[in-house]
Subunit: 343 residues, 4 copies
């Protein structure tokens, strides 16, 4: 290997690709500043010690063993561009050595928040059903078509989970005069208050909202957090909008609650993806369906590369990464998301 | 007529009704504070001089002749609860006498702005079509379903008309990092800037926006303001959202522009309402249809009564009305909206 | 007089001058668009009928008699650049004829609001006294110097009067997490609420605030509105900040309340201006003095010309003025401010 | 020692005291939830192994040796309530073991930002000098007193350092229409942009601002960051406001720049504290002096206890601390502030 002054980064971003997550311009910067070694994510240990010994960064989230890590004395950061922390590397060793593990999932916050508000407005005003009726000549004109229409202005909003998604959601609601309550047991009350929301219990959020948004990641603790009882306790006609992971709710109970007419709902995620063609949610009235499309915009993926470059620049200057989100010793083992297979 | 200390108000709110525009509580206040004479709007002149002579307010927009007005020396304000100024009274006489003519159309600003944002998000993210496809088992999962998806964050928004509707629209966009340009020839540039928007020409708004909203009332000057040329000059894939009156655009040209795939669109208003069953817009791809439902929410109508009470209270205290919008000498004759027949 | 297509404007802005209220650039526009006739404000009637007959605008607030107005058939607007409405013209005739009377006092709102916040912060943190003590070697370091220091964040703010000044004040407070209550009997509650403040009684504003701002113009009704009893009812240590006109308060009572140590205060206005050298407020501890300087910034005066140009442009196009504030039939006679003599 | 189920916290908050940093209510909670062992900060190693072995938290920043830490297997967090990271414990060992070191300095952000804005307004409007002149009968009335007065609205603001202080400063400016540029080499550009400020070089911030705020902590790299050349490059009449540490500037050069009339300034910090009585800054015209009082409000200290309680609660539940600021491996050694002796 010819001597190269540039820091070395191993590239193993699968299922992403460098072309997906970098704009042409950012890609150019990446190669100008770093020696990039593209590697098979399933065989990082197969790289030579010249590469492993010099590697400062891994762009990706490939399986890593303790042995491989021991051969990487210069490693400073694993930049996970999948966004879920997968149980495929000894995080404890990384933490001990002060090697950062960061994720770029924040890029999905804005697109998810925007479609979440779109679902809320569509449910509140019957946008989907009114359009379908109009196509079929069954439309109702003026006030007659607004029997169940509601405003967001003046309503009460509940958000479950106040990570990047929750914060982005709060931001798109800032133009509405709405009261926002948040349930997030991982954040102290004062931080929620500083963000202009009211800290609330799960029960308050569920029972006192006109719109309930679920943006919490699945953890070992919140599987099936919301079931039949929770849905029954919601306000009649309230909207339930599921944006993070289906496992947080009892999906069958959600379907029943909507089928009964008690609430309306929208979801971007499902217990099985893709969903069987005969799944009852397909024909459910009062439900807006989206096929795990909330975050996966090309513009979102392209931001990942920018985040990676910004944080590598900070670390090159001896500073900690500030742009991506750092994995935490305490919570890494609680995160239970399966990795994605497709972008 | 028994002596009654309460100021007298003639009620002729058709096509509204007092029950539509007042909550039960507000209705009670109305009757407690005022002597209400319910009148046939087509026959105000048929009221006795005891009523006409004492009437301080007219709630409604009935036809009024110069002769009838001459019999109403105590009249201080006509509170139009229809929201359009109809050519059925001698406004010049009212202005000379210092009788206010005010409208309550502001109540529709918030509901129209909210559904407008809902249309924008639905078009940007394909919410309607994705749901219909999902019902039919044709949904595309993840990024595959987002080929034409766009964000509002980072986009450029154009608003045509910056009255109450335009301002409400600007407000619901305030949580998004979007650049907002406004064309409104009736407002000075500095007022637009104080509202945090950029004053722009019609051409700039049409050609440099990702989302164009039309919220201008029809005047004698802007009929057919936007035609084939304007639509052709829009950015490919941009969204055109029509919320005020169909006459502002060449509707056939709009349909062609959407049919060609150049732009997408949503509309709440049509050249004919109701629309014939065979109208081509019914099957138009890339178009979201709404049957003049944007403003007509019960909660909006109920606000009218509150506005009427607040302004009558100010006038009872010798102050000018501040809550409703005042008709202006200069523009009353330029407003060309037909009155509505249904609520 | 040579034929001139440009609309004619009579200039009589005293005590202002055109150079004070127009930037060089705006002045150039003024002369390019209008035929300007500079007139002696005390002798408008001395102008020939060629001028009076053609004059569309008066820039200024000169005395006008009914007879002079009768000679001005083309007059459309009196643009008062003093900002107070003086009792020197028959307003009723102007209103009947639909001639607008507008004022440009809004230009003072931003400078007054900024210094008002500056007074509040100076009082809250002892900025003036601490600097004076430091000059004299008597400063107290760290927490010892903060015995009476308070934050605006988390405090309660009361504003008396919610015209342009009050709104500007509310805006400069928007970065603080403070509760703002407003007393303004001329505005309906819902307008205050839409501006993000709580409508309150005078008593609530006085007794429940940490900072009370008086920005109400003097009217025939509010002279001496706040006296000894009001000051006694304020929270101990609260700050009273007087920004509009001294006549709204009993100034001696204010001095006593500060002298007793019950409250602190700042004022920009005084019962007599200039103030006698032996006036007790000069040595009053707990009081910040400003010599009617809050609004009179050159940059503020220069905005007047811009407002005048924008509104004349609207009126030239047959539209109503929107930039300046219009005098109202109902309130013109209630406004009791004396005109200013100096800028 | 009697068996106690409560987690054990060692209290050694000097120079703070528990009474300073906890409200009575918070103090009660502290003792209800934790077994508190008050210790001599200079002799933590003198505590018995029963205490050290069980201690989960240290409230304070006492000197700690590697040996002492080795006797503390249950230690999870050092909660520094001084706010500076002092070089008195082996941070590297703490990081390796995953023991958090957090600081509560954020409590000072709001008070410092508020007084910083107060300084800016006082300098812009001459509040201090005008009051002193008024006391002495030398006041200038109206526009005459505003020769050098400026607005913040429409101005350009520069902030050096965008930690908690910088963010709080940005927030109090959010009600003004001002352009804000920030220089902070530790933060990526996109984070600054997300906070609504423009990322800029130090030179841009210094040369293109009407108000420059220094809120950067002293590090090993920024000592004397701003000297004669920087001050000379500032806009004539611009204001320089020093809020963090005197060592960031060449203080003599600052005095010269103000003495020459080129700029005006305010400072809360000095090269020596207390400052000699004959120091030239005491009589410097165009300078506002504050004796290290910007942050040291009782209400700020009291927030420290709340932050400590919130983060201990999170850690008790196995979560990472989120309220206080964590020391970082990369930067702990770069922070060079001396500890404070007084509160």
């Amino acid at each position: 290997m010819i001597h190269d002054e540039r820091p070395l980064a191993i590239s193993a971003p699968e299922p992403r690709t460098l072309d997906l997550i970098f704009t042409a311009e950012a890609r150019k910067q990446l190669h100008a500043r770093y020696q990039i070694v593209e590697a098979d994510p399933e065989n990082i240990e197969g790289l030579g010690d010249d590469v492993l010994g010099k590697a400062r960064y891994i762009i990706g989230q490939p399986p890593l063993s303790a042995e491989t890590l021991a051969r990487m004395p210069a490693l400073r950061c694993v930049l996970n561009v999948e966004s879920n922390l997968i149980n495929n590397m000894p995080y404890e060793i990384l933490f001990q050595r002060g090697i950062h593990v960061v994720t770029t999932g924040q890029v999905f916050a804005e697109p998810v928040a925007e479609i979440g508000l779109g679902f809320a407005l569509s449910l509140a005003r019957g946008i989907v059903d009114a359009d379908v009726a109009f196509r079929e000549g069954r439309e109702l004109w003026g006030g007659e078509g607004n029997a169940s229409a509601r405003l967001i202005g003046g309503s009460e909003i509940g958000i479950i989970g106040f990570g990047d998604l929750g914060k982005a959601l709060r931001r798109v609601f800032s133009g509405f005069r709405a009261k926002v309550r948040v349930f997030d047991p991982w954040l102290p009350r004062s931080i929620l208050e500083e963000n202009g929301v009211e800290a609330a219990s799960l029960e308050e959020v569920v029972t006192r909202s006109d719109f309930v948004f679920v943006v919490a990641a699945v953890t070992s603790e919140n599987k099936g957090l919301l079931g039949a009882e929770a849905f029954a306790s919601m306000r009649p006609g309230a909207a339930f909008i599921l944006l993070s992971r289906a496992d947080v709710v009892d999906f069958d109970a959600l379907i029943s609650a909507v089928a009964s007419g008690h609430i309306v709902a929208a979801s971007d995620v499902y217990p099985q993806e893709p969903l069987p063609l005969d799944h009852p949610v397909r024909n459910l009235k009062g439900f807006i369906r989206s096929a795990h499309r909330a975050g996966a915009l090309d513009s979102a993926f392209k931001k990942m590369g920018g985040m990676v470059l910004e944080d590598m620049d900070l670390m090159d200057r001896g500073l900690p990464p500030m742009r991506c989100k750092r994995a935490e010793r305490e919570t890494v083992s609680r995160m239970r998301s399966k990795g994605v297979k497709i972008n």
